[in-house]
């Protein structure tokens, strides 16, 4: 199986992408899709990405829900900040969070989550110190942000490492 599909999950994702793109589940489309996703999985071997295995799929659903909720909340919060921005200067600032993630893919996912959440911006990750520098729009709740980031990191660590 590994020989044929070096990155099975990834290939499945690609296959799903193909189906969505073509908006069709016709046999022809499926055959082409299977062929292409297998082929592209193979190409990926050449680029030698870090492998990750999904350990606990159940946790993933939970994390996704948390993230979604956070995103909605942050959207509203940040919109408010922007609309009020003219009145008084927003209380913004930098902060470092210790993030103990080894896996590159996990880090990447964390980056996606933090970026997708308005109000936090990923700036630098120091691999030696395992410290993440972020910029937040609402520095008043620094602890809240720190907790959130740590929670995400812990979740990802469990899922991917």
């Amino acid at each position: 199986m590994r020989a044929w599909l070096p990155y099975p999950l990834f290939s499945i994702a690609l296959f799903l992408m193909w189906l969505l793109l073509n908006q069709s589940v016709a046999p022809g489309s499926i055959i082409v899709g299977v062929f292409l996703s297998a082929l592209l999985g193979w190409v990926m071997v050449k680029l030698q990405p870090t492998r990750s295995r999904l350990h606990r799929l159940g946790l993933m659903g939970g994390l996704a829900l948390t993230v979604a909720a956070d995103i909605i909340r942050s959207n509203v919060a940040v919109a408010g900040i922007i609309l009020r921005a003219r009145g008084r200067p927003a209380n913004t600032g930098f902060m470092s969070v210790d993030v103990d993630l080894e896996n590159e893919n996990a880090l990447a996912l964390l980056a996606c989550i933090l970026t997708a959440t308005p109000g936090t911006a990923w700036l630098e990750y120091d691999r030696r110190r395992k410290s993440l520098l972020i910029h937040v729009l609402d520095i008043d709740n620094e602890d809240l942000w720190r907790r959130t980031v740590k929670r995400y990191a812990a979740g990802l660590k469990e899922i991917l490492e």
Binding site: F10, K46, P49, A111, W122, R127
Partner: protein, 970 residues
């Protein structure tokens, strides 16, 4: 038979060039044989022309243009042919001894024979254009002959001046000939000679006259074109003897005589030809007196005698024409012999300067005697041929042809010029052969070899014989020639030596005694004097000519070139824009363009806002491009994006996709390039910008605004016009599915209806990629940009300063997380490309979009991982992809040949396969695959080639750093 005259010399010329250069004798004998054959043939043809017959030879050359290879020999042409071939033979004989060991003789004789052929061509041409052809050939060959000793600066100059003058005249003459052809309706000489009245009465007559005379007068070295001849004396003496006395310079007067029946007799002819002739006659003779160079004296004398002939022809009287022809022959004989004698003197003594020569009679009595006789003929001493024609000239001079000042002055000028002739002839003889024995000659003189002198012997004998018994010798030949020119106008004349006591005889006597007196008066002056006549010396024709030529053809030309042209790009662009604007506006302005009605209704506010953004991007980009390059590029991206949305909005999804993809690649490309451009200093304060610059910018702004406005106006006009019903688009929409096999009409057009365009377009991409690649292989960055960018230096220094950090850790850290995502995106991009490719035929997409999308996948990898990283992992062969792509596209097209259809005929079917269902099987998809492969290869090649510069830069900087050390070590 006549073709021999052309074939033999030219053929001989080609053969002669292949003689080995040490075979002086053989080459000469060969050339002599050719000349002799030609002469014998001429002689043999005499009976045919003697009775007034005309020999013709015609060969089709360009009958469509009325130009055939027509040779025509009448009496006059015969006389000239005889002269050319006979003297030609003698000169060859002479040259055999004259030319030095080290001279490349084969070249000389080859040119000599070519010249003889050309000259024969001139006199034998039966077609005016053919005559012009041979005419110019004589100029060209004479140029090469004069410049024969090209290591000598005088020879080069002389050759150049001669060619410029005679070539110019020849070109003018050609136009004259063309005009004659227009008037007559033919260039055939017979037809022309029969149309005298038509020519003289045509409104173009004056133009014809001036143009033809320009040819004739320059060739015959008539004032004010005379000065080339003395300079041509730098040629070897045989050349002077042949070209500059006997033949080529006679071509001008030959032409005057030839066209005499159709052109002479008008006031214009009389004035122009007469004035030129008289001036030349007098000035030539006067200048000849003051020459110190033997050949110079002879050259001016030639000019003067040619002037005499010209005067005779100007008079428009038949008798004068007879005299002219007679003098042509006489002058050829005595002048050729004199040149040869001068050559012998030069050859034997090593100098031609009359101030150094004297008393040579002592060393070379025979040569001296011969020269004396020939000089006497030149001076017009009785019992010599020169005397006879000069008497005829005097007789004509005193006649009244037209009542005007010029005619009245002729006898006096004639006498004075004749007097001068006596003076210079006497000077020639007296100063060279008599007086004290010479002391400082380069060589010790003695008589020349027997056969070197033989030609002179012969010619001098001819002078004597003709001078004594003209009627029995030259008489019949002269008559034949005269009759062929004058026909029924031929007057009765007598060639007797004695005509009794008359005014011409008195004039001769005055000239002779006056000339002798003048010589002895001026003797001491001439002996010490410098070259050239007093006063006139300062006014040298050649100097003026040179100065005019240099001014016109060099100084003025250069300044004009600079003024009318430019080597800067900006003015050129400005002109291009301006002309395009004018060209576009003119038809509209001329045709009374009506502005289309403005339609304000139905404006979509979102679209309007979109374009407000687009316009702001464009204008902003224009204003920031100089000092804020990055900002300009960002804004350019904005403008591109607005364009892209517009395409979607206006139902062109294919364009939007392509535009967007290209946009991305272009931005990356320009950014890749930006690194190699010099840093731009900050914008100066507006107040500091000079007024001139501000004006320039304003002007450019106005021009750009007008051009932009024009484009917008035209676009608006067309857009608001109703669509033409029968456009080719209707056909495409109708046929796309049923015959093209696709529902996306744009794509069917691209790969089928107009697939050939696409083929060309990918070829362009291929070419550009190859060019970029090849150019970048030779790319040499400026030293300024050789250093790594400041950012890298700072970051590397940081890494270096901290011992625990590895080299390049900063960048690795920077790209750490992004590169993870970008790497996973690579297959995703591949999927997108596959999607775009496969649906292209039915929905937006296609090979091109797919190729670019895939190449962006590659760029992302290069950006995240760096060149080395990627190339360690992915084998990339863009050149092969390009090659394969082009070949696949071509093969698809050629495949249709097998089915008997033209290139690129598509075969499309929707095949029904089990399970899978209907699948489009268009050959066009294969074609598109080729497009994909090529586009991918080309784009990747360009990007990689550019990206590689950074790697090379690093290697180079390394080498550079190592060099000083190496040098120090040495």
């Amino acid at each position: 038979m006549l073709s021999v005259f052309i074939l033999a010399p030219f053929g001989g010329s080609v053969i002669a060039i292949f003689f080995p250069s040490d075979q002086r004798g053989a080459t000469a004998w060969f050339a002599g044989a050719i000349a002799l054959i030609c002469f014998l043939v001429t002689a043999g043809l005499y009976p045919f022309v003697a009775t007034g017959g005309v020999l013709r030879f015609e060969l089709d050359w360009i009958p469509e243009l009325g130009l055939n290879f027509t040779l025509r020999m009448d009496g006059f042409a015969w006389l000239f042919s005889a002269l050319i071939t006979a003297i030609g033979f003698l000169v060859v004989l002479y040259a055999r001894y004259y030319m030095a060991e080290e001279d490349p003789v084969p070249r000389f004789f080859a040119l000599f024979l070519a010249f003889m052929g050309s000259m024969l061509g001139v006199v034998l041409s039966g077609n005016l254009i053919l005559l012009a052809v041979f005419w110019e050939l004589t100029s060209i060959v004479s140029f090469l002959l004069i410049g024969y000793w090209h290591h000598n600066a005088h020879a080069r100059e002389g050759a150049r001046i001669a060619l410029t003058m005679t070539g110019m005249g020849g070109l003018a003459m050609l136009v004259g000939m063309l005009l004659i052809g227009r008037v007559v309706g033919s260039y055939d000489l017979d037809a022309v000679l029969a149309s005298g009245d038509a020519i003289r009465n045509d409104p173009l007559y004056n133009a014809i006259l001036i143009l033809v005379l320009l040819g004739a007068l320059t060739k015959s070295a008539q004032f004010p074109f005379h000065f080339w001849l003395p300079h041509a004396m730098a040629a070897p003496t045989p050349v002077s003897a042949y070209l500059h006395s006997a033949t080529m310079v006679k071509a001008g007067v030959f032409l005057l005589a030839r066209l005499w029946p159709v052109m002479a007799g008008t006031d214009a002819w009389f004035w122009i030809v007469g004035l030129a002739g008289l001036t030349t006659l007098l000035l030539g003779a006067y200048f000849a007196i003051f020459q110190q160079d033997l050949k110079g004296l002879l050259a001016y004398s030639t000019i003067s005698h040619l002037g005499l002939i010209t005067v005779l022809l100007s008079l428009g009287s038949p008798l004068a024409a007879v005299a002219a022809v007679f003098h042509i022959v006489n002058h050829a004989t005595f002048k050729a012999s004199l040149f040869m004698a001068a050559g012998i003197i030069d050859h034997e003594t090593g100098t031609r300067d009359m101030r150094r020569l004297s008393g040579l009679f002592h060393y070379m009595p025979i040569t001296a005697t011969l020269a004396m006789v020939a000089s006497a003929a030149m001076a017009g001493v009785p019992l010599l041929n020169g005397f006879l024609s000069k008497e005829m000239f005097f007789a004509e001079a005193i006649e009244t042809h037209l009542v005007n000042a010029l005619d009245a002055a002729t006898p006096y000028v004639a006498t004075i010029a004749s007097m001068f002739a006596v003076t210079y002839s006497l000077r020639f003889i007296h100063s060279v052969f008599f007086g004290p024995l010479p002391s400082d000659l380069p060589k010790k003189p003695h008589e020349p070899p027997r056969w070197m002198r033989a030609p002179v012997d012969f010619l001098v004998l001819a002078c004597l014989v003709v001078g004594i018994i003209p009627a029995q010798t030259i008489g019949p030949f002269l008559h034949t020639a005269v009759v062929s020119i004058l026909r029924e106008e031929t007057p009765s004349y007598s060639l007797a030596v004695w005509h009794g006591w008359n005014i011409p005889l008195i004039m001769s006597f005055v000239a002779l005694s006056g000339g002798v007196g003048l010589y002895f008066l001026m003797r001491s002056y001439l002996k010490t004097g410098i070259e050239g006549p007093p006063i006139f010396r300062l006014l040298q024709g050649q100097r003026i000519f040179e100065r005019v030529l240099v001014t016109l053809s060099w100084k003025w030309a250069r300044s004009l070139e600079q003024r009318l042209g430019t080597r800067h790009l900006q003015p050129q662009m400005r002109l291009l824009v301006f002309l395009a604007l004018a060209a576009g506006a003119l038809p509209l302005a001329v045709g009374g363009f009506r502005l289309p009605q403005l339609v304000i209704r139905g404006i979509d506010p979102a679209f309007a806002l979109l374009w407000a953004i687009g316009i702001a991007c464009a204008v902003g980009s224009a204003f920031l491009a100089k000092f804020h390059r990055l900002a300009a590029l960002v804004l350019l991206g904005g403008a591109g994006l607005v364009t892209c949305i517009t395409f979607v909005w206006l139902s062109a999804p294919d364009l939007a996709v392509t535009q967007l993809l290209v946009e991305i690649v272009t931005t990356v490309l320009i950014l890749l390039g930006l690194r190699w451009l010099p840093k731009r200093i900050e914008e100066p304060e507006t107040a500091d910008i000079p007024l001139k610059v501000r004006f320039r910018r304003l002007r450019d702004f106005l021009l750009a605004a007008m051009a932009g406005g024009g484009v917008a106006l035209v676009a608006y006009t067309v857009m608001t016009r109703p669509l033409t019903p029968d456009t080719i688009a209707s056909y495409f929409l109708g046929q796309a599915y049923h015959e093209g096999g696709g529902t996306n009409v744009v794509n069917v057009i691209l790969v089928d209806f107009r697939g050939f365009d696409t083929l060309g377009e990918i070829a362009v991409l291929c070419i550009v990629a190859l060019t970029v690649f090849a150019l970048l292989l030779r790319f040499r960055p400026h030293p300024d940009s050789l250093e790594s960018p400041e950012q890298q230096r700072v970051q590397n220094a940081y890494d270096d300063d901290h011992p625990e950090r590895a080299e390049g850790e900063s960048v690795a850290e920077y790209l750490h997380i992004p590169s993870v995502i970008m790497r996973w995106m690579f297959p995703v991009t591949g999927m997108l490309a596959a999607y775009l490719f496969l649906r292209g035929h039915d929905l937006p997409g296609g090979g091109f979009a797919a190729g670019i999308a895939m190449s962006i996948g590659f760029i992302l990898q290069y950006m995240s991982g760096g060149t080395r990283w990627v190339e360690e992992r992915l084998r990339i062969h863009p050149l092969r992809w390009m090659s394969l792509g082009l070949l696949v596209a071509l093969a698809t097209g050629v495949g249709s040949w097998l089915f008997g259809y033209p290139f690129l005929t598509s075969r499309s079917e929707y095949a029904s396969l089990p399970v899978i269902g209907k699948v489009p099987l268009a050959s066009a998809i294969l074609f598109d695959l080729g497009v994909f492969s090529l586009v991918l290869g080309a784009t990747v090649l360009m990007l990689i080639a550019l990206a590689h510069q950074s790697v090379r830069r690093a290697a180079r900087a390394h080498a550079r750093a190592a060099r000083p050390e190496r040098e120090a070590a040495q």
